[in-house]
């Protein structure tokens, strides 16, 4: 089995500060991390390799952030590929998936591509299905269970109204949800071993694509934090009965309960 995991090094959205005067997020210098669901994808890839043998590769487009790439390797990925280029500034899902497709083709043959359901910062849920289309392979999305049986991948997925089991012949692309597994935390040993694993850096020209082929179709015009207008009445140190009284009073005042 040759498994490719698409792992994004994303903005750590829980640490983004908002400039109070402009209500805009401060993105320069905001910390980065491996996108949450991509860790689930890495974990799943490693479990499949542990069961069936083979190799797991990661591919990342964007910021060459070596700490995060080392973490990916420490989790058990065999080799990491990073595509970064001066011209890759404004990336929409169209651009990202084209670069990923080119990189995956350059990496050689594969049986399975794993992605997260969505990335924590972009949260478009587009890159997986787009990539499957560009690679000409079936997609199995929102997987909460994955198994490889012979030449097929079988996935359980929860939709709004039903739970489905879907299968497809390999090669195929699977996007996983957070529920699929609990990602392992690398040990000191794993981290030491990771420092010897290969990281391949590519530019666009290494992949034979010119920046002209990578024009985004959607551009972000404005980012704005919504004004949160809440009363913020916090009650501390009350007895349960007093707290209950206070809540009922609030419900009355807000017209939820009638007096």
């Amino acid at each position: 089995m040759r498994i490719v995991v698409c792992a994004k090094v994303a903005l750590d959205v829980s640490q983004i500060k908002v400039d109070a005067s402009t209500q805009t997020p401060v993105l320069s210098g905001a910390p980065l991390k491996v996108s949450d669901f991509d860790k689930n994808a890495i974990e799943e890839a490693i479990r499949i390799r542990e069961a069936l043998g083979g190799e797991v590769f990661s591919v990342t487009v964007g910021r060459p952030e070596s700490k995060a790439i080392r973490e990916i390797l420490a989790m058990g990925v065999d080799a990491a590929y990073v595509v970064s280029d001066q011209s890759l500034k404004e990336m929409d899902a169209l651009v990202t998936s084209k670069v990923l497709a080119a990189a995956i083709k350059e990496m050689g043959s594969f049986d399975l591509v794993l992605c997260g359901e969505s990335s924590i910062d972009g949260f478009t849920s587009q890159v997986g299905p787009r990539l499957a289309e560009l690679l000409g392979i079936p997609q199995l999305t929102y997987a909460r269970k994955v198994s490889v049986e012979g030449n097929e991948v079988v996935v359980e997925r929860a939709l709004e109204e039903e739970v489905e089991v879907v299968k497809a012949p390999l090669p195929a692309l699977v996007t996983v949800t957070r529920e699929v597994n609990v990602p392992r935390i690398p040990t000191i040993m794993d981290i030491m071993k990771a420092s010897k694993k290969p990281i391949t850096q590519w530019s666009l020209s290494d992949l034979g694509i010119s920046p002209e082929e990578l024009k985004p179709a959607v551009a972000v015009e404005k980012l704005q934090a919504p004004k949160i207008e809440r009363k913020g009445v916090i009650l501390e140190g009350l007895k349960p009965e007093e707290a209950a009284e206070a809540i009922v009073e609030a419900l009355l005042k807000e017209g939820i309960l009638r007096g």
Binding site: Q126, P138, R230, E241
Partner: protein
Amino acid sequence: MRLCSRRAFSGGSEIVGEIWAFSENVELLHELLSGAEELSKKLGASSAAVLVGDGVREVAEELGRYGADKVYVVDDPAFSAFSPEAYAEAIAQLAKQFEPSAILVGATKRGKELAPRLAARLDAGCATDCVRLEIDEGGRLVVTRWALGGNIAAEEVFLKKPWVATIPLRVFEKRVFEEKKCEVVESKVSVEKPKAVVVESKKKEAGAPLELARVIVSAGAGVKNREDLKMLEELAQLLDGQVGCSRPLSADYGWFPEWIGLSGKKVKPDAYIACGISGQIQHIAGMRDSKVVIAINSDPNAPIFKVCDYGVVGDLYQVVPALIELLKKRKK
């Protein structure tokens, strides 16, 4: 929500491509058609529904009632089961032939795996989970969606056509056009047999739609056992409300079919009572529009206290029973 144009835009002499709507969810399709109708007026174009499936021809005419000028029908047993591969190919073939300006897709999970695959086939842009759509001075589509973990509104503009956008329930309001007739265009498309197939499908136990609840008592990981939900249900009942939950209670423990938040349902009740919910941004993204937010949490530093109207620092196992007692007394 209404569509608003920043300035009246007229397409001039050039013919502007249609605004299409697709969703396998009928309710959502009706809403999208209302949006497509409004958007198409702004552009001087017409609106159309796209129906793909087996036996869908018979419902085509009735879509005029919801605003469609035209309905493209692909009715073929090959499409009896939804498949992102086959449906993307079919809609892409139609789009290449008829060159719409926009394809609005219902943002169900199926819609959200179809739209990007379709967009990739058309080399088009796509915007996910749009909550607002406008046409700018240049006649381009500008959408608003929640980005960066769900706490930042992003305005995104399309730089080329076609525009593919996914739109969740309740962004557009369904309207009925009593007299409106629509033209039905039956199309034959042939697609490759999809490689991914469904081998088993089980209906989930259906809960009442949380989107319509006036009061939501929401359970978080501070609730330790499944039996303890009874207490929250009792509270909800006393307030004429329903019980909802944060993601772990549904996705990890399987106590609920759906959860509230960025990756779950978006709700806007009159009152949202968060019990044992820490208030991570991804959860807030689903309940931000609630009128009044009340939080009960034992940790004074829980982030939920920064985004609530009334916060009680305390043990929900003590506060909720006391609240139930008090409400019962009041009822008497």
